[in-house]
């Protein structure tokens, strides 16, 4: 899993590249925890290069989004879900509680609307 980031207007866009699963969930969560400690609470997760998500991946994005919302009045928005990942979000009900956008710009915009 490769993780890169860029910050615009106090919002951190995170680009993931790889599978979000039992092998990578811990490093992804640790990445977010570190950012939170540095006072970053608004994130956009660019999922363009994530072709696979399993229960470990689903759990980690839910836990991070929950903590950002409940503890820091922040959030985690999603952009550019691949079809398989998008369907897994639907099946598991994540699309009912997370904000999902068709591109990063809209996901960033989502924080001001």
């Amino acid at each position: 899993m490769k993780i890169t980031e860029q910050i615009t207007d106090n919002i951190t866009i995170i680009n993931l590249d790889g599978r979000l699963d039992a092998h990578t969930c811990e490093s992804v969560e640790a990445f977010f925890r570190e950012k939170m400690e540095n006072g970053q609470y608004k994130f956009v997760m660019n999922m363009e290069n994530v072709e696979f998500i399993d229960s470990a991946g689903l759990r980690v994005v839910l836990v991070v989004a929950r903590d950002l919302r409940n503890k820091h009045k922040g959030d985690l928005h999603f952009a550019l879900l691949q079809p398989a990942v998008s369907r897994v979000f639907e099946i598991s009900g994540l699309n009912n509680v997370l904000y999902i956008y068709n591109n990063s710009e809209n996901a960033v915009q989502g924080f001001s609307s």
């Binding site: 399993d54 470990a56 839910l62 398989a84 369907r87 897994v88 099946i91 598991s92 009900g93």
Partner: protein, 312 residues
């Protein structure tokens, strides 16, 4: 090896309501309009082809599973489902003494509350031995039948054996191992191996850290099981909302079963708030998840439904 589910509901017994029954009848009648049903055969054919959530119910009895081999009778948990199992045993044994081994995962009500109503237990000619890693299982079960709660005490003929983790128990042709799970006040998984097959019962467990390393002890314990019976009480979202309540979901179950090379996965401990339609919808979604994430997999998924028998 034959496995029969006598109770599959979690938390509390959940009988079908009249509203739910009426809805099932209405849905069936609606589908019968313009169908030619002039013979009994045509009627049963029609019923057989109804969607499963209309023609069946997952049932409301709580945890109880019977495992039968040529030489052994094993019972997993003693929720309300054990009452009907008791009646069935009386029929089957027709006066011959019954000898059964009862493995207890833990002592939450939904896993013990059938014991006072287990009629064969009242006959001292029958032999029932309870197993668990708890050192005070007998005291706990005696408490349940204190006079304030039930008119008859726990039968004095019941035997109790304390199991040790990482030690194999032999009963007849079966080898039994146990593993602690993550559940309020503790719960234990059981792995039962015969010469040619294996079943793992892993109910009442929450998995919070899903990393490869944290899951290894469970994956090892489930390794190559022919059948895994897995607690899937919650949806993915509920698992986060109800953190530390001690249950799991179908997606985690599928991923664990895939890693462990399990052949069949049966979801159990069904949420009392969910009706049949919702529960079979969850199964449908579980199947779609498997198809998306591992299309080549031959893992079979099913709901543990009251009365379902699986032959391994």
């Amino acid at each position: 090896m034959q496995i029969k589910f006598w109770g599959a509901r979690g938390s509390i017994a959940t009988p079908l309501t009249n509203t739910e029954l009426t809805a099932k009848i209405q849905a069936a009648v609606k589908r019968s309009i313009n169908v030619e049903l002039s013979t009994d055969k045509k009627v049963s054919e029609f019923v057989k082809n109804l969607p499963v959530h209309i023609r069946q119910t997952v049932g409301g009895e709580t945890a109880c599973i019977e495992i039968r081999t040529d030489r052994c009778l094993l019972i997993l948990d003693a929720g309300t489902g054990i009452r009907r199992l008791g009646m069935d045993l009386l029929d089957r044994f027709a006066g011959q003494p019954i000898d059964a081994h009862i493995l207890m995962t833990h002592t939450h009500w939904d896993h013990i509350s059938g014991i006072p109503f287990f009629v064969p237990g009242m006959n001292p000619d029958n032999h029932f031995t309870f197993y668990s890693p708890f050192d005070d299982l007998k005291e706990r079960l005696k408490l349940q039948q204190r006079y304030e709660y039930f008119p008859a005490p726990l039968p004095a003929t019941y035997k109790f054996v304390r199991l040790k983790e990482q030690k194999t128990l032999k009963i007849g042709d079966l080898s039994i191992q146990t593993l602690p799970l993550n559940h309020p006040s503790g719960s234990y998984s059981y792995r039962i191996d015969s010469n040619d097959t294996s079943v793992v019962y892993a109910t009442d467990s929450e998995y919070q850290n899903l990393s490869v390393e944290s899951m290894k002890p469970f994956i090892d314990f489930f390794q190559n099981a022919e059948l895994l019976i897995f607690d899937a009480q919650y949806t993915m979202l509920e698992n986060i909302e109800k953190e530390n309540w001690g249950h799991s979901n179908v997606f985690t179950g599928i991923d664990m079963a895939l890693k462990a090379g399990v052949k069949k996965l049966a979801f159990i401990h069904h949420e009392p708030a969910y009706d049949d339609e919702k529960l079979w919808d969850i199964l449908q979604k579980a199947r779609e998840y498997l198809k998306i994430n591992k299309p080549e997999s031959k893992l079979e998924l099913d709901l543990a439904v009251e009365g379902l028998t699986i032959t391994l």
